[in-house]
């Protein structure tokens, strides 16, 4: 009965979305305020029905209602409650419903927070948002219905893939989806602006916070996924250039470009056409990302669906969404007026260069991910594209970008004196040289490229810090003044400093762990010790464990350095009861300078156990840096919210805030 209610709810949501995608558009054309206002009401109705449907499916998972195909195939009655709930989106149909739920939430949020938006723009934005909803709801109802019943329900379900039964992965998809779907708002704004034929600073002020929200969650989602891969897959890797990783990375790269170009539209009323194109491309990549993973085009852990009917539907949807929006862009963009002018060496010029490099990086990942598909489809044979390709193409694009990140914010708008700006970075430059020498000394002249890479990260961090010190006049004014200036720095300024600093820290972690990772494999009997990179790991033995839905063998290692005790590591090897799938649960002792990582494998004939030990220098810096970036996004958003609620001249406080921000940014 509850499943039927869910079925009814998604159909009602589809009807609401259809009405929402048509009536407000007509209203905006005829300036009929009632039809325009309908968009807001419909988006709320749509959201309520989608929440109802999602609630119904969640209920079915919690009570293990195996009369539903979806639940029977992906759940089991002995699964812990957390994974029963996360199991709702741990499969194709449920994840599509989650996607639609987030889309509806964003739509309703635009309706709720968008009181100050020009009415026609708001109506059109909501209509476009609903069109996306129509596409996805149709897809859900006709090809991926989660409420399909089974005539003969099984006694118990087939359980969720054990790799996905993990806290990290329980929250990875929702965060990723908030990121993907968040870009839909930027997309809807872009399409609405094209229909309207008008893009101004107010438009950019609206698009920025939504893009920032999406970017923040996407950053968090990708970082969570990579952290999960690191501790769950059991060999200490954190990024594999796997297609499913790449498809989430592409919207991130494009979204980062969009975030930066929207600043130019907002502050200088320039780069409007380019920003609109970026918004369309970013969301298109999100769509491609969702569908490529879902359609099973690239088979891996993530691709749960292998179904040609769905594939055709997906291609059709992509063609309409991407082709349609690009056609509209080609048709309408020339009518948008160009804004302020600037010289190549200027803040705008710097942001534009950032966009060029990020787009190139994104194109590289795009080619690497989809080229094999196209080649095979065109009969060109099969190729594999892996890390060697990206090391040769992606890395060279990122290097200049990372080197320039800390220069950009020092450039004034319109026209800049490059020599003068570089002069302001002389201390950062000197400190970078010292850092390189220190790294060279510590690593005993280790790989030169890696040391220079660390230097690059140091330059990025130090340059960012010196820009921040510049802003608050540190050491150039009395400390009290600097403190005053620091306290008064707006959230978005803090956001930039934190995000760039976080990037530097993450890059340093990536380089260190790639260059100086040490790994060892051995067969150990209880009591034996293995020494890896100067650290001793004594294998104390194993014991058997029984989890809620798995059996496990747990090994114990005593880690010590020069006879000094450091930690106890207890890696597990689990066998899940239902799917009979073994998984490794690595044990990790994290420190500031690196991780000590142990994995226990199979028992061999002579009674010893296969043991894998990894030493991962500075690996946690990657996720620490990413956390800083997420924090930066949130801080910057906290600032924006004040401004979004206060369009020019309406509220004094908001205006003052905005002014101080502009001063800080100038």
């Amino acid at each position: 009965m509850i499943a039927e209610l869910g079925q009814f709810a998604i159909i009602m949501a589809l009807l609401a979305a259809i009405a929402q995608s048509i009536l407000p558009l007509i209203g905006a054309e005829r300036l009929d305020s009632r039809l325009m206002a309908f968009g807001s009401q419909a988006s709320l109705v749509q959201l309520l029905f989608v929440i109802l449907a999602f609630g119904c499916l969640t209920q079915a998972y919690i009570v293990s209602d195996f009369t539903l195909v979806n639940v029977a195939e992906n759940s089991h009655s002995t699964k812990p409650l957390l994974y029963k709930i996360s199991g709702v989106w741990g499969n194709h149909e449920g994840s599509m419903l989650l996607w639609i739920l987030i889309l509806a939430v964003f739509g309703a949020a635009v309706a709720a927070f968008g009181r100050n938006l020009p009415v026609t723009l708001k109506a059109r934005v909501l209509a476009v948002q609903a069109m996306i909803g129509v596409g996805f709801l149709t897809f859900l109802i006709f090809t991926s219905n989660p409420f399909t019943r089974l005539l003969v329900p099984p006694e118990n379900g087939r359980d969720l893939n054990p790799l996905l039964q993990d806290p990290g992965l329980a929250f990875h998809p929702p965060m990723l989806y908030i990121g993907y779907v968040g870009f839909s708002v930027a997309f809807s704004f872009a399409i609405a602006a094209l229909i309207e034929g008008k893009v101004d600073a107010a438009w950019a002020r609206w698009v920025r916070p939504w893009t920032l929200t999406a970017w923040t969650f996407l950053t968090g989602g990708i970082a969570l996924g990579s952290w999960w891969a690191y501790y769950e897959l059991g060999w200490g890797g954190w990024w594999f250039w796997d297609p499913v990783e790449n498809v989430s990375f592409m919207p991130w790269l494009m979204g980062t470009a969009l975030l930066h170009s929207a600043i130019v539209v907002e502050k200088r009323n320039s780069l409007k056409v380019w920003t609109i194109l970026l918004a369309i491309l970013t969301f298109s990549l999100s769509l491609i990302g969702t569908f490529i993973v879902r359609s099973g085009l690239l088979t891996s852990v993530h691709a749960f669906a292998v179904n040609p009917e769905r594939g055709i539907f997906i291609l059709f949807l992509l063609a309409i969404a991407i082709g349609g929006s690009l056609a509209l862009f080609a048709f309408r963009a020339p009518s948008l007026k160009a804004g302020g002018i600037f010289s190549p060496i200027s803040r705008e010029g710097g942001l534009l260069l950032n966009n060029l490099l990020l787009s190139t990086a994104c194109a590289t990942v795009f080619l690497g991910t989809l080229y094999p598909l196209f080649m095979e489809a065109l009969g060109g044979g099969r190729v594999s594209i892996g890390p060697p390709f990206y090391n040769n193409t992606f890395v060279p694009v990122m290097v200049p970008l990372l080197l320039l990140v800390c220069v950009g914010p020092l450039l004034p708008w319109k026209r800049a004196d490059l020599i003068g700006v570089l002069g302001r970075l002389k201390y950062a430059g000197l400190a970078t040289i010292l850092a390189i020498l220190a790294a060279w000394y510590i690593t005993e002249g280790g790989p030169l490229l890696a040391i220079l890479g660390l230097g690059m990260a140091a330059w990025l961090l130090l340059g960012t810090l010196s820009e921040w010190a510049d802003k608050i006049k540190l050491f150039r004014a009395p400390l009290a003044t600097s403190w005053q200036r620091m306290v008064k720095l707006p959230g978005s300024a803090w956001g930039m400093t934190l995000a760039h600093g976080g990037l530097a820290i993450a890059v340093a972690g990536m380089i260190s762990t790639s260059a100086w990772k040490v790994e060892d494999v051995a067969v150990l009997k209880p009591g034996e010790t293995i020494s890896v990179a100067g650290t001793d790991y004594r294998f104390d033995g194993v014991r058997e464990l029984t989890g809620p839905n798995y059996q496990a063998v747990e090994g114990t290692f005593t880690v010590s350095q020069n006879g000094e005790f450091m930690a106890i590591l207890k890696p597990e090897k689990r066998l899940y009861n239902v799917q009979k799938m073994p998984t490794t649960e690595a044990a990790i002792y994290s420190t500031f300078v690196g991780d000590y990582y142990a994995v226990i494998g199979d028992q061999v004939e002579d009674g010893g156990w296969t043991v894998r030990i990894y030493r991962e220098p500075m690996v946690t810096w990657i996720w620490f840096g990413c956390t800083l970036m997420v924090l930066a996004g949130l801080l910057s958003l906290a600032d924006r919210r004040l401004r979004v609620g206060a369009p020019a001249g309406k509220r004094k406080q908001g205006k003052r805030k905005q002014k101080s921000h502009q001063n800080a940014a100038a």
């Binding site: 060999w235 890797g237 594999f240 190549p344 194109a363 080619l367 190729v383 892996g386 494999v521 067969v523």
Partner: protein
């Protein structure tokens, strides 16, 4: 499920020092550390054909083990790294290598990024040129400057009279 069979070159150093520690599946590991290190580098660029996007270096499939042994056999026979790779791609096709070969079919793949950058760069140059044409602002004449300053002064006055209200 990656990484079930990793072989560190460093491993040899420790196994040499300790009798109690045996390398896992020692039959695969070569006696010559230099050759073994090369074998591992190659293994990282060779795809396990039955796995999903996994190099033979970290795969636990039987085929991966076979390929690891083949790589080592070729190295012992005196092949160069490239020889080993071309031997493998002759037998299994380009699909077996994670570094796609450079040929007419993959031309766009390898030069695509450069192409995007080039086209974008040229677009930028045109954009800035167009900008320059718009930017023919003449300097102010003395009279204009006087009027401008007058406006500024007036603006300041109105601002200071309003300031009591705003703060």
């Amino acid at each position: 499920m990656r990484g079930l069979f990793l072989f560190a070159a460093v491993l040899l150093i420790f196994t040499a020092n300790s009798n109690s520690v045996k390398a896992f599946e020692p039959d695969e590991i070569l006696d010559d550390p230099a050759l073994e290190a090369r074998a591992r580098e190659i293994s990282k660029e060779v795809r396990c054909l039955v796995c999903q996007n996994e190099p033979i270096d970290s795969s636990n499939a039987d085929l991966a083990k076979e390929l690891r042994i083949v790589v080592r056999e070729r190295l012992v026979a005196g092949d160069s790294d490239d020889d080993v790779k071309s031997y493998l791609s002759a037998r299994y096709g380009d699909f077996v290598l994670f570094r796609p070969p450079f040929n007419t079919a993959t031309f766009l793949l390898w030069f695509g990024p450069l192409l995007v950058f080039g086209v974008g760069g040229i677009g930028l140059i045109f954009f800035y040129r167009g900008n320059k044409n718009l930017k023919v602002a003449k300097p102010l004449s003395p009279e204009e400057e006087a009027r401008f300053n007058q406006f500024l002064d007036e603006d300041k006055k109105t601002k200071s009279s309003n300031s009591g209200e705003t703060s």
